[in-house]
Symmetry: D2
Subunit: 359 residues, 4 copies
C-alpha cells in the first residue's frame, strides 16, 4: 500500500536509503526447493554496480550481498529470502549543500511535498541506489524462470540520437555485455560510448532506450482484465527511475497502421499453434501466446548534470545549482540488469499465478 | 489476485461477459459523504456506448446503469457501490462460427491456453464491453476528484497516420466532444473521420493515439518506489484492450535528448514553487509536483476486420476467417472516456492514499 | 482495504444493504473448469433464508440467486462469478422510528461515528442480511472443496445454557438439518427449541455456540507466519455478526493444562503419519496436518429484543426503545450455513495457495 | 500472499529463522514525521527476550535491534523502516538429533508436508523467535498510537488452572511488570510462579491466558464487513504461536446469556455517547465505539517438554523423543509483549485506515 512492495505471489519489499546503513529486499513467496545460486545473484549486482566502467559514476560500492534467511542447505525453503547490501562509500558531505535546495527534475521537492520531511543525502530513498535491491530479487526470480527454461535478456538499443536500426531478431544478444555500453552491435556501441564520453566531459547527460526480450515463455501467463501481462510489465518499467515511456510489440507504430497489416495470422508450426508475425509482442488479450515477448523502455537523460542550473531553495528563493554528487552521464548501460530484474519479477509472479487458473 | 480488481483504497472489481446476463462493477473504498451524481455517470457511459455514431459498431446497447448499493439519500455511505449494466443486444448467433476458430490478434487462443475453456460469444470476458464497467466506476472517481477541483480530460490526438501537431496547451479541450472523432481540432477531426469512414468501407481498421491531461492536481500524489504515479498510470492504460504504448511528459523524445535541455528548472511563481518547463509531465520521483500531468496512449488497429484472414481452428487445422461480428473500424473515439475513467481511478486511489503519508 | 473483500486467491467482494435494491457477491479467482451446481448454491441459501421456521424472523425473502457472469455451459470459466439476490420484503417503514435512535449493541452509533452518515433501514450494511452473499459464495467454495473430497459441516452445539455434552466424534452430523435448531442430537435439540420459543414469547433473545468440523482435508494448508490456517479461520468467524469467541482444537481448555497431556503423539497408521489424539484441532504451526479440523464459535444473544430498552438519540437525549423490526430470537440455527460458508471460503483460498508453496 | 506480511496500511513483513543469520522486519506505511524512540523499541524487545528470568528458556540472545532505514534526524520519513536482530546463541548442534524426527505438536511434520523441505534447527521459521520481529514492529506501532493517546496493555490472567478472578477494571495494570510472571495481582503471581517452577522441574509445561486492554481508543476504527476490528484482532492473536482461543468482551459467556442482560444501553456521559455496560468489548458492528477494548487469548502448553514422548521419524518409524533444546515451561509471561505488539499493529493499521472513511 505504501509503494515499497511489488508482485502478488512472488512479492518483494525493498528498503533503504542511498546514504543510510544499508539497502535490502525481502522476497516473500519464492517457492521451496529452488536451488539458490548466490554467484549468479552477485553477478547481476556487479552488472549494476556503480564505478564499473569509465562511463559510470565514480561512487564505489562493492555491493556484496548478504543472505539473511530463507535458504537452507543450498535451497529455498518457502520462507522469506532477505538480502542485505551495506552502504559503504557514503560521502554525505557532498550533499550538505543540497539540504536546502530543490534539484531540477529530481524528487527533492515532491518528497518534501508528500512527506513533509526528506533525507537529502544522495536523494535518500529516491536514489537509483534502491534498484540494487531489485536486481538482487530479480536475480532470484530469474533463477526460478531459468528452472523453467525461460530466458530474459535486455540491451541498450539507443543512446540519445544514436539508435540501433536492427530488430532484436537480427542481433546476437550474447554480445551485449562485451562492451561497457551493453549494446550488442559493436559499431553502434562504439558511437554510443563516444557520445557518452563527450557528454561527461561537457558536464551534461543523455537519455536512451533499452529493449527487452523474453524467449521460451509458455502460453498462458497474465491475469486479465487489469493484470494483463503487458500492464504489469508497463508498471514495472515505469517504476524504474527516469523511465518515461514503454511500448510492447509494435507499440506506437501500430497506432499509425491498419488491422490488415498488423494482425498476426495463426498457423500450425511444428505441431504448435504459432503466429506468422509478432506485432502483438507475444501477448494477446493480456495473456502470453508462446511467442517472444519484447518491448522498449525510454529513459530520460540523467537529471544530475554538472552544468549550472537555476532553481529555488526551501524558502522559495531563486538560487543557482552546481551539482557535486557523483553520477552517470547516461543511465542505460547500468539499467540493463534493472530492466531484466523487473521483467523477471513480473514473469515469476505470473508464472506462479498461472497455477491457479484451472481446476 | 485474479486480475479483475484495480486500485488499493479506491478499489474496483468488474465482472461480466460480452454476451452474458450483465456486466457490472463493485467500487469499494469510495469515502462516505460524496454527492452521487447519477446523471454524470450515465453521461460518461453514453460517451462510450456502442452505436453512438456512424463510425462506431452497430451493436445497440442502451447501457442504462442501475445502482444496487452504497448510496443513501443522494450520498455515498462508505459501503460498496455496485453498478449493473444488463446486456440486451446479444446476437450470440453471430459468433457460432467462431466457437472453433482462433481469431488473429484476439484473445481466443490465449484464454483457451490459460483457462482450458472459453466463452466464445463476442469474446466473452476479453471483449471491450467490459470497459463499460470501468467507465461507470471511473465516473464515480471523477466525482471524487471534481469535489477537489481536479480535472481529467482526454482526446484523440492521432488516427492512423493523421496526427495532431499541436500540443495540448495549444488546444481548446472543451471542443473534444463536438465531433464524433473526439479530436478538439476541427480540421484534423475531419480528416480523421474521412479516414475511418474509408477504412470501414474497405473492411479494414486503423489504430490511433489518445492524449490525456490532468489539471489542478496538487503536489504529493504517488507512492514510490513501485507505485509511482506514472507507473500506476502506465498499468492502467496498458490494461485497456488494444493499448500497445504509453509515454508520460517528454516520453520517448526524452530518450534522444540531453539533461541540460530536458531538466525542468524550478522558480517561484505566484507564491508557489513551479517548474518553468514541464518535460516531467507533472511527476518527479513518482510523485506529482503540482504541474499538469499529461501522457499519450497508443492503440493498435482493431483486430476484427471484415477482410478475409488466415488462421487455425481448435484442432490446429488451417482455415480462412471472414468476420461477421459488429465492430468499430477505429477504437479511439469511444476509448476517450475509457482513458479518462482509468486515469480518474488511479488518481482517486492516490488521492486517498496521500492521506496516510504524514503523521 | 475497505473491508468488503475476503480471501487472497479465492477472493470475494460482497455488496448491498438490508433494504437497498439488492445484495450480492463477486467471486474472483475461482479456477476454470469447476462444474457449477446452482441447485446446491440455492439450497445453502435456503438454509440461511429468513422465515424458514417458527423460531426465525418473520421477514420473508425468497433469496433466489441470479448468476450474472463467470459460468459458461455449466462450468466456471476462470472469470468473476457474480451472484445477485434482490431484496423484496422491505418494510422500511418499520425502521422510520430508528432514524434518530441508536439501538443498544447494534452498529447504528458506530457506523455514524465512522462514516458520518448511515442507512438506518434495517441496519443497512451492518444487517446480517449481508451474510446471504457470503453463503452464496461459500457454496461455490464448497463445490471446489467437494471436488477434492473435503467435507465441511457445522452444527449448533449450545443455545444459551443448554449445551451439547458430546464431542463431534460421538455425533451423527447427517442429522443436523433434521430439526429446525440444527443440533444433531434430537433430545438436546428439543430442549433448545423449547428455550428459543419461550424467549421469543418473552420478547428476549439468547446466544449460542456453533461447532464446525472439516474432514478429509489434506496436510499442507496454511501460510505461516501470519496467515496460519487457524488465524484465517478465526478472522472469518469473528467477521460474522454477533460472534464473540473462537477456539480451535482444545481451545481455552488447553490453557489450563499440561504439555504432557495435550501434546499429540505421532504414529504411523495405515501407511500415513497420524496423530494419536487431536488436541491441535488438525493444525500445527499454522498448517493442516491431515487430521480433522474442528472449532467452536460463540454467538452473543441477538441485540434486537422486543423488551423496552434505554438508549439515546442522535442529539444525545435519553429515550426508550421498543423494537418493532422482525428478528430472530436466537441466531445460531440460521448461522450454521454461514459458519460453513466462511469455513469453506478460508479453505478454498488456502487450497489454491498451497499450489504455490513448492517448486 | 505467502503469509509473512500483516496489515494493510501499516504493513509489516518479517523474515528469518531461529538459527539463521538474523531475523528482522520491514515496516511499510508508517507515516512520516513520527518521533522514533529507539529506547522504547529496545525495551519491548527486552521484555520478550529469552533468558530474562528463572522461568524462561536458557537461550541467551541480546536481541539488540539495528535500524537500517526509514529514520532521519530522529523521525520517520515515510519510507520503509527495516529493523534487524542478529542471532547469536545458536546451538544448532542441539537440534541435530531432530533432523529426522517429528516433534509432537510442533510444526516439523506440517512444514515438511507443505514445503517438502525444512530447516530443522530450532524449528526454523516456525520458532517463536520470529515474534521478536513482531515486537520490534509493534513497538513502532505503539509509538504511533501513543502519539494519539491510545494505551495498549496486556497481562497474564491465567497459568494452567490458576486464574485471576478479578476483571481488568479491578486491577492496577502498572504492576504487571513488577514480577516475572507478568500478572498484576501479587498473590496470584506468586502461585503462578510456583506452579511454573514446579513444572520446569518435572520437565513438563503448562498453558495460560493473556488479557489485553486498550484504553482511550476513539470511536470509528474497523472496516466492516470482513475487516471488523475484532476479526482482525482475532487473526492477529491466532497468528501467535501456541494460541488456541480468542474471546472479545463477554466472549463465550455471552453465548450462554440473554439479550436483555447482555445489551449495552447507551447514555450521555460527560457530553459523550457512552454505554452503561461494556459486554461488547468496545466494538459494535465491527467498529470501535469509544469504550475500552478488551479480550482474552488462550495459549496451549509449550509443546517442547523434557519428558519422554512417542513419535515417528521421517521414514515413518516409531521412535522415542527426549527433547534437549532450551525452552520455556510456560510461554505466557514472555508472550505479554507479543500480544501487545500484535494488538498495536492492528490498531495502528486501522487508525490510518479510518482516515479514508469519509470525504
Amino acid at each position: 500500500m505504501a509503494g515499497n512492495s511489488f508482485g502478488e505471489v512472488f512479492r518483494i519489499t525493498t528498503f533503504g536509503e542511498s546514504h543510510g546503513a544499508a539497502i535490502g529486499v525481502v522476497v516473500d513467496g519464492c517457492p521451496a526447493g529452488l536451488p539458490f545460486d548466490l554467484t549468479f545473484i552477485q553477478q547481476q549486482l556487479d552488472r549494476r554496480r556503480p564505478g564499473q566502467s569509465a562511463i559510470s559514476t565514480d561512487r564505489k560500492e562493492s555491493d556484496v550481498v548478504e543472505v539473511l534467511s530463507g535458504v537452507f542447505e543450498g535451497k529455498t525453503t518457502g520462507t522469506p529470502v532477505a538480502m542485505l547490501l551495506r552502504n559503504t562509500d557514503q560521502r554525505s558531505g557532498d550533499y550538505d549543500a543540497l539540504k536546502e535546495v530543490y534539484r531540477p527534475s529530481h524528487a527533492d521537492f515532491t518528497y518534501e511535498a508528500r512527506y513533509g520531511i526528506r533525507d537529502h543525502r544522495g536523494g535518500g530513498r529516491s536514489s537509483a541506489r534502491e534498484t540494487a535491491a531489485r536486481v538482487a530479487a530479480g536475480a532470484l526470480a530469474q533463477l526460478l524462470l531459468r528452472s523453467a527454461g525461460v530466458q530474459v535478456q535486455a540491451y541498450v538499443s539507443a543512446v540519445g540520437p544514436i539508435s540501433l536500426e536492427k530488430a532484436y531478431t537480427e542481433l546476437d544478444l550474447s554480445l551485449t555485455d562485451q562492451n561497457i555500453v551493453r549494446c550488442p552491435d559493436v559499431a553502434t556501441a562504439s558511437q554510443m560510448e563516444a557520445l557518452i564520453t563527450q557528454l561527461k566531459a561537457e558536464g551534461d547527460s543523455v537519455g536512451g532506450v533499452i529493449t527487452a526480450v523474453v524467449r521460451a515463455l509458455p502460453a498462458g501467463l497474465g491475469d486479465p482484465v487489469f493484470d494483463k501481462l503487458e500492464a504489469d510489465l508497463a508498471k514495472a518499467m515505469l517504476s524504474i527511475n527516469a523511465v518515461k515511456g514503454f511500448e510492447i510489440g509494435s507499440g506506437f507504430a501500430a497506432a499509425a497502421g491498419r488491422g490488415s497489416a498488423f494482425n498476426d495470422a495463426f498457423e500450425l508450426r511444428n505441431g504448435r499453434v504459432r503466429t506468422q508475425s509478432n506485432h502483438s509482442g507475444g501477448i494477446q488479450g493480456g495473456i502470453s501466446n508462446g511467442e517472444d515477448v519484447y518491448f522498449h523502455v525510454a529513459f530520460k537523460p540523467v537529471a544530475t548534470i554538472s552544468k549550472s542550473q537555476q532553481t529555488v531553495n526551501r524558502s522559495g528563493e531563486a538560487t543557482e545549482l552546481q551539482a557535486k554528487g557523483r553520477h552517470d552521464p547516461c543511465v542505460v548501460p547500468r539499467a540493463v540488469p534493472i530492466v531484466e530484474a523487473m521483467t523477471a519479477l513480473v514473469l515469476a509472479d505470473h508464472w506462479l499465478r498461472m497455477r491457479m487458473a484451472k481446476l
